[in-house]
């Protein structure tokens, strides 16, 4: 069986459809690690954690921030149902930076009531948002 040349990628959040179109490659942050998907992948269902989704069209690679969700992979189609998915251009760097500092100060505080898991997740979200946003910024700079 000939392999399909492209994957039809759909990224949807409860609020809106973030992306829909043919791509050459997708990487998603599954709960057990990053997962790269090329056309013709075996059917797969997985859960997504916090991290970055990236997809490639030709030589062009786009990054999105993603936090929790599910992914359904079929040989010619990938559907990402994310709780949150933000394009790199949509991310507010200042706010993410503040969130990171807040989370880290909470984690390093000696307060016994600190909810560590929550703090760690918040920090992870902020750091991951920043990563995505910075990648985007770097590309905007003149070479």
């Amino acid at each position: 069986m000939a392999l399909p040349e492209h994957i039809h990628l759909e990224i949807a959040t409860p609020e809106k459809q973030v992306f829909s179109g043919p791509v050459d490659e997708v990487t998603v942050p599954s709960t057990v690690g990053y997962l790269g998907i090329l056309p013709g992948h075996a059917p797969l269902l997985g859960e997504l954690g916090i991290g970055e989704i990236s997809y490639k069209i030709g030589d062009h690679r786009e990054y999105l921030f993603c936090s929790w969700g599910f992914v359904e992979v079929l040989p010619e189609r990938v559907i990402i149902l994310a709780q949150r998915a933000e394009n790199a251009s949509e991310i507010d760097i200042k706010r993410a930076e503040q969130a990171r500092q807040r989370a880290q100060s909470r984690l390093t505080s000696k307060d016994p009531n600190t909810d560590f898991v929550r703090g760690q997740l918040a920090a992870l979200r902020a750091i991951s948002r920043l990563d995505v946003a910075r990648r985007y910024q770097h590309r905007q700079l003149p070479r």
């Binding site: 949807a12 409860p14 609020e15 809106k16 057990v32 059917p43 269902l45 359904e72």
Partner: protein, 284 residues
């Protein structure tokens, strides 16, 4: 003899009201368009979610999850979604009528209310029904986080077996002029469609399928509530737009009639004065 000044005053106040209703109509039209876009934008997620759930349901045993448990219908929760504001025709009345009808039809069961919207809150406050949870201004600033919070509360209530069934009453958005109140079962989640063996896909899992399934079900409930809220919001704006359009037209008609009347009164006054002058002149 009606007073001309009184009639003029009534014309002026009708014009003022007309200006307001016309403005409200345009505001509602703009909000309706936005609300409609959100309904459409939320569709892909809900559709894909359902297709993934359906394909998973075939490989996970029934009753595997507390949200699927069929326990009968002794303890029911009714989620009533209305607007916060009035001035939208029979929109709120229809929903409340439907809710009261439901309560009357299930008076032998224990029904508790979960109220979303100021109109329903004010309505049920004066009546003897047990209200478990109420929230206002949900529809005006609607986010998925709100829906998720409402869902979490309902899911908890259901999982503790305090409720056997949860139903939604809201106004479905069919089109701008079409209003339809629906009573929709939310929990337990309806038995999912069993796809034929031909449509079944053998997935790889990087997690046990049960785990994915169990994480998906609460999301599904959240999505259902979010969708209902979005539709209710769109329907509210649609209803208000139609109501305000009718009000504007009624005002136009009223102004026309009053103007005609005012002119007649004015003419009658002039005629009377003329007669007085003429009869006065001829008598001398």
């Amino acid at each position: 003899m009606p007073n001309l000044r009184d009639i003029r005053r009534r014309i002026r106040s009708a014009k003022n009201i007309q200006q307001i209703t016309r403005a409200m109509k345009f505001v509602s039209a703009a909000r309706l368009r936005r609300a409609q876009e959100r309904v459409v934008a939320a569709r892909p997620y809900a559709r894909q979610m359902l297709s993934v759930l359906n394909s998973l349901a075939t490989r996970v045993p029934e009753h595997a999850h507390p949200l699927l448990a069929q326990r009968g219908d002794q303890k029911i929760e009714l989620v009533v979604i209305t607007a916060d504001k009035g001035l939208c025709g029979a929109y709120n009345t229809n929903i409340l009528k439907e809710a009261i009808g439901f309560l009357a039809g299930h008076s032998d069961k224990s029904v508790e209310l979960n109220i979303l919207g100021k109109r329903a809150r004010d309505f049920f406050r004066r009546r003897a029904f047990s209200v478990r949870h109420e929230a206002i201004s949900v529809l005006s600033t609607l986010s998925f986080a709100d829906a998720a919070a409402i869902a979490a509360d309902i899911i908890q209530e259901f999982e503790k077996e305090k409720k056997d069934q949860v139903l939604l009453v809201y106004n479905e958005f069919k089109s701008v002029v079409q209003q339809r109140v629906v009573v929709e079962p939310l929990l337990p989640i309806q038995r999912l469609k069993d796809l034929g063996a031909a449509d079944r896909i053998d997935y790889l899992y990087d997690e046990p399928p049960e785990r994915i399934f169990n994480n998906l079900l609460p999301r599904h409930v959240e999505t259902q509530i979010f969708r209902a809220l979005l539709e209710a919001a769109a329907a509210e704006h649609g209803a208000r737009m139609t109501a305000m359009d009718a009000a504007t037209r009624n005002a136009t008609e009223m102004i026309e009639n009053l103007t005609l009347f005012a002119n007649k009164v004015r003419q009658a006054g002039i005629t009377r004065e003329l007669i007085e002058i003429v009869s006065g002149a001829s008598s001398t």
